[in-house]
Each structure stands twice: as structure tokens, then as C-alpha cells.
């Protein structure tokens, strides 16, 4: 059997036994090294250690610290109260406020999972109190949570940057306009659903919106709203690198949560770092394992073989894109998004590049695909994060998410057809 065949069969064989992905990947590589005598055992730790010593990745655990501070400090509720004070007496207003809160949370935290769990815990009871059916509210929050990996900063973009040697700053910028587009489409979806369903149970406050109330809520939310400005302004103003911006924003949010909002107690500070260490290890160790497997993938010429087959079948780049997207969404049904990305990028990236794709455009397409994956049953992680943090049965979350999946597919199609949405802003800021 060829190297490619043994590698694929062994990896899939281990995967279905429920062995953690990192061991499936690194274990398969280890076996291939020894069985085919293509490298030594030392290569495993050498490659894994080398992959994790990539400075691009430093931003990842630091943004995860920021996400943990946001969740533990309940900072989301101040943003939501502000958004809701403006929108509360419109039909679907609370739902729109929830999407906008997700977007702002996404502009601070880089993780979709943290986003969905934190928002669900705080906002769902509020939405239910105002007459939102559980499935509708859960659908809004689970989908809103996905914005976390598209709107900068984004954990997915950092990993993509590390894997493909692209600038994280440019990747963050590439996600900006598609991020705005996603917010717009999701807001429109919430409004349409609220109107079409004519959900009579939704309570709309009759009391008119008061400027004084908005001002009070704004003053409360203002210190948190500064965090995205520190991150984005810091990176693109040339003040910080992405990892430094995460460090500065983490310290800033920790201080305001401790001193201003008093939502984190001093004795809880260290648990933030412990939690962040575990969450980032879960992601980064897979990166390490997959990088070792990536070495075998390169040796096996798997990408070239797939490309030859694709060309042999007479497929053009768009047909290849459509097939890949369907394949990625199906994979996303069974595996979490980070793993799907880490496993497929080393194989598919060279093929996409041969077809002349822009790496930034590809990153955004991939990320939106991953977003859809996070809300696709049966494995979609956001569905479980939301169900776990709110107690809403998983079936209700799935029911609520279905209409939003249609919106996400529309976003994916728009962003795929118009590469400029992803490439225009980075090219303006960084030049071609």
C-alpha cells in the first residue's frame, strides 16, 4: 500500500475509535515515519515543538485569556443593556441587540465557543422573559456566537496564519467587511423571523426610548466598548503586534472587571489563567499534532495527487470550491471546526493556490464554512455550548438555528463570489 493510503486509513481508523485527534494525527505520523522509514522518531517532537514555537501562535492563548475574562466578568451584559436600551421597543429589537452584542463580544474575544456560551448564559433568560420562544432565542444566540471567529480578533485566523505563513494582521482585516456583512444579514434574519412569525408572545415595551436611559447604559458599557478599539486600533495604528494587543486588552479588561464592575474577585484571577491554559492547550496541541502529520502529507504528495485527479476530471476552480465547501460542511457535522481546518488546510491549501485563489479570500471562505460547521447538527460545538450553558434542550437549539443556517449559506455564497469583500480592505491598508 502507498504512503498516502496507509496514512489516510490509519488516521481515519484511529479517529473512529474516539482517540483524541492530536494522538490520531501524531500517532499516524509516528507510524508512517517508522514503517516507511521516511524519518526518525525524533522528528515527531522536533516538528511538534517547532510548530508550537511559532510566534504567530502566541496571540492565540492571550486572546483566549481575554475571552475568559469577558465570560467570567459577565461583561457582556453591559453591552447588551446598552444595545437593548436603544432597540427595546421594536419587534425583534432584543434579538437584534443580542446579535450586536455578539458582534462586539466577537470584536474582543476570538473564540466562537466562548462567545456562544457566555452570551447564552446571560442573554437567554432575559429574552425568554420578554416572550421569545426558547428555540428562537437559542437560534439567535448560537448563530451570533459564530461571529467570534470571523470578526477580528479570531482564533481561526491566527491558526490559518500560522499554517499558511500569512500575516495575522492582514487576515484580521480580511474578516472585517465579511464580518459586517454577516452582522447585517443576521440582523435582517432576526427582524424577518420576528415579523413573519408574528410571534405574539414577544413583549414589546410600550414605554418610549429615553435619551437619559441610553446615556446611562452607554456610560456603563463605555469602558468595555474601548476594548475592541484598543485591539483593532492598536494593531492597525501600528502600536502593537496582535499578541501585544491581546495582552494589553486582557490586562485592561481584567482591571475594569476587578475595579470598576467588581465582577471578578481578586482570588478568582488565577483561575482565569488556569482556564485559559486548558482552553488554549486543547486547540494548540491539535495544531502541533497536525503539523507532524502535515510533514507526512507533504512526503506522500497527497495534495498533488488530488490536484491531478481534479484536473483530470475536468473540474474548474469554482466546481472544486463548491465540492470542497460541501465536504467541509459535512466534516463540520462530525468534527469541531478547528480540527477540520487544521486537518484539511495542509492538503487543500496548495490546491487552492494552484487554482489562483487569494490566500486572504480563502481564509474568509474557510472561516465562514467553519462558522456554519459550528451550528451544524449533530456535532456543531456552538449548539452544545449553548445548550450546556443555558439548559435548553439540544433539539430546541437545533430547531432555532435552522433558519439562520440558510442566512449563513447566503453569506458564504456572497463572500465566495466577491473576493473583493475580503481582499479590498487589507490591500488598502497594507498595499498589494
Amino acid at each position: 500500500m502507498s504512503l498516502s493510503a496507509v496514512m489516510i486509513l490509519m488516521f481515519l481508523g484511529l479517529l473512529i475509535t474516539g482517540l483524541p485527534i492530536v494522538f490520531c494525527a501524531a500517532g499516524t505520523a509516528m507510524f508512517c515515519f517508522l514503517y516507511f522509514d521516511i524519518s526518525t522518531l525524533t522528528t515527531v517532537t522536533f516538528r511538534m515543538y517547532g510548530a508550537l514555537s511559532n510566534y504567530t501562535l502566541v496571540a492565540l492563548p492571550l486572546f483566549i485569556v481575554l475571552g475568559v475574562v469577558m465570560s467570567k466578568g459577565n461583561l457582556v451584559k453591559y453591552i447588551f443593556s446598552f444595545a437593548n436600551s436603544i432597540l427595546r421597543n421594536t419587534l425583534g429589537g432584543i434579538g437584534v441587540a443580542a446579535i450586536l452584542t455578539s458582534a462586539i463580544f466577537a470584536a474582543i474575544s476570538g473564540s466562537s465557543l466562548a462567545n456562544a456560551a457566555a452570551l447564552g448564559m446571560i442573554l437567554l433568560p432575559f429574552m425568554v422573559k420578554y416572550g421569545y420562544k426558547e428555540d428562537f432565542a437559542a437560534g439567535i444566540l448560537a448563530t451570533g456566537g459564530t461571529l467570534g471567529i470571523l470578526i477580528p480578533p479570531s482564533v481561526t485566523m491566527i491558526l490559518y496564519g500560522a499554517l499558511t505563513e500569512q500575516s495575522v494582521g492582514q487576515l484580521f482585516m480580511a474578516g472585517m467587511l465579511p464580518g459586517f456583512l454577516a452582522i447585517m444579514v443576521l440582523v435582517i434574519t432576526v427582524i424577518i423571523l420576528a415579523y413573519v412569525k408574528r410571534d405574539r408572545s414577544i413583549v414589546i415595551e410600550k414605554e418610549p426610548v429615553r435619551i437619559s436611559e441610553i446615556w446611562t447604559e452607554f456610560k456603563m458599557a463605555f469602558p468595555i466598548l474601548l476594548a475592541p478599539i484598543i485591539i483593532i486600533g492598536g494593531i492597525y495604528g501600528g502600536f502593537f503586534t496582535p499578541d501585544e494587543s491581546a495582552a494589553v486588552a486582557s490586562v485592561y479588561c481584567l482591571v475594569i472587571a476587578l475595579v470598576l464592575y467588581k465582577s471578578i474577585k481578586p482570588k478568582e484571577i488565577f483561575s482565569v489563567f488556569r482556564e485559559a491554559a486548558q482552553s488554549s492547550a486543547m486547540i494548540m496541541i491539535i495544531y502541533g499534532g497536525v503539523t507532524v502529520l502535515g510533514f507526512v502529507i507533504t512526503m506522500s504528495r497527497l495534495s498533488n495527487n488530488i490536484l491531478e485527479r481534479v484536473v483530470g476530471m475536468g473540474l474548474n476552480q469554482w466546481q472544486f470550491v463548491i465540492i470542497t465547501m460541501i465536504f467541509l460542511i459535512i466534516m463540520g457535522c462530525f468534527l469541531d471546526v478547528v480540527s477540520v481546518m487544521l486537518i484539511t488546510i495542509p492538503i487543500l491549501y496548495p490546491i487552492f493556490m494552484t487554482f489562483g485563489f487569494n490566500p486572504l479570500h480563502l481564509a474568509v471562505i474557510y472561516t465562514i464554512n467553519m462558522e456554519i460547521g459550528t451550528i451544524t447538527p449533530p456535532v456543531g460545538m456552538n449548539l452544545y455550548a449553548l445548550s450546556g450553558s443555558t439548559g435548553v434542550p439540544i433539539q430546541s437549539v437545533v430547531r432555532g438555528v435552522l433558519p439562520f443556517m440558510v442566512s449563513m449559506v447566503i453569506i458564504l455564497i456572497i463572500v465566495t463570489i466577491w473576493p473583493e469583500l475580503s481582499t479590498w480592505l487589507p490591500s488598502k491598508m497594507y498595499g498589494n
Binding site: L14, G18, A26, L52, V58, E244, A281, M282, I285, I286
Partner: protein
């Protein structure tokens, strides 16, 4: 034995947290010293990386102990309870084997760096074998966590047998 495990769990999770804290603290201090004192440390980036890599391996061992690593559970979930436990023992044994091979690989890496006197390319000229020590250490941790999981799964299988019998 239980006490040793508890103490080690505490040390491990705290050490992983300390590493992340130090990475963040150095990164933050770098920004402050650069803007307020016009000074940058030549060692900062290098040591941030070491702390991040150490936190990843220590954190991964913790995650292994809590059985929270990302995996494909859907197919194993289709098996009857007993089958699930047996497959669980099998995967835990695979982790033990992986841990041992990782330990050997890590030791070879460290010995190689040590004997060739490899140092980092930065001005700090850190002997590379020191931060690389995390590799054999991770091998040991994975092996023990794997053994711990084998024990857990065997116990669960036995309990399941007792429940079925009664």
C-alpha cells in the same frame, strides 16, 4: 496514591496557568517599557514562546486527565455501553504507547541539542535543550494520564458488569 494524584493535578494546572500568566505579563511589560522608557528586551519574544509551549503541553496533560480532548465520539456512541468501555480502554492504551514513544523521541531531541550545544538564535543564546525538556516531560505526563484513563475505564467496565448482574 490519590493524594499524590491530587497534588500533581494542582501543580500541573497551576504551572500551566503560571506559564500563560508569565507570557501575558512579559508581553504587556514589553509594550509599557517600549512606549514609556524606549526600551525593548532582547529576550522577551523568546521567553514568551517558551512559556506558551510549556503551557500547551502541561495544559494538554490536564485536558487528557479531564477527558476533554477533541475527538470523534459519534461512532463509538453507537456501540452498546460495554463496547464503548472496551474501546475506551483500547484508546487509553494507545495513548500510553504514544506517551512512551513521545518520551523516547523527546529524550533523543534533548540529548541531540545538549550534545551539539545548540543555543537559541537570539542574543539570549539560551541552551535549547532546557526549554525542550518539556518534550520528554510531556511524554511522561501523557503516559501517566493514559495509564490513569486505562484504570478509570477498567473500573467503569467492572461497575457496568456488576450493575448488569444485579
Amino acid at each position: 496514591m490519590k493524594n499524590v494524584k491530587m497534588i500533581w493535578n494542582k501543580i500541573e494546572s497551576n504551572l500551566a496557568g503560571v506559564c500563560i500568566f508569565l507570557a501575558l505579563a512579559i508581553s504587556f511589560t514589553e509594550v509599557i517599557t517600549r512606549y514609556f522608557f524606549g526600551h525593548s528586551s532582547f529576550w522577551a519574544h523568546e521567553y514568551i514562546l517558551y512559556f506558551v509551549v510549556w503551557s500547551v503541553f502541561l495544559g494538554a496533560s490536564q485536558v487528557l486527565s479531564n477527558d476533554k480532548h477533541v475527538k470523534l465520539e459519534i461512532f463509538v456512541g453507537l456501540l452498546p455501553q460495554k463496547g464503548q468501555k472496551i474501546v475506551g480502554i483500547f484508546t487509553a492504551v494507545l495513548v500510553v504507547i504514544f506517551g512512551i514513544l513521545f518520551l523516547v523521541s523527546g529524550l533523543q531531541l534533548v540529548m541531540d541539542s545538549f550534545t551539539h550545544n545548540y543555543v537559541s538564535t537570539s542574543l539570549a543564546k539560551t541552551p535549547i535543550w532546557i526549554p525542550q525538556l518539556i518534550c520528554p516531560l510531556a511524554g511522561i505526563l501523557f503516559t501517566f494520564r493514559g495509564l490513569e484513563n486505562v484504570g478509570k475505564k477498567i473500573k467503569e467496565l467492572k461497575e457496568l458488569g456488576e450493575v448488569t448482574q444485579s
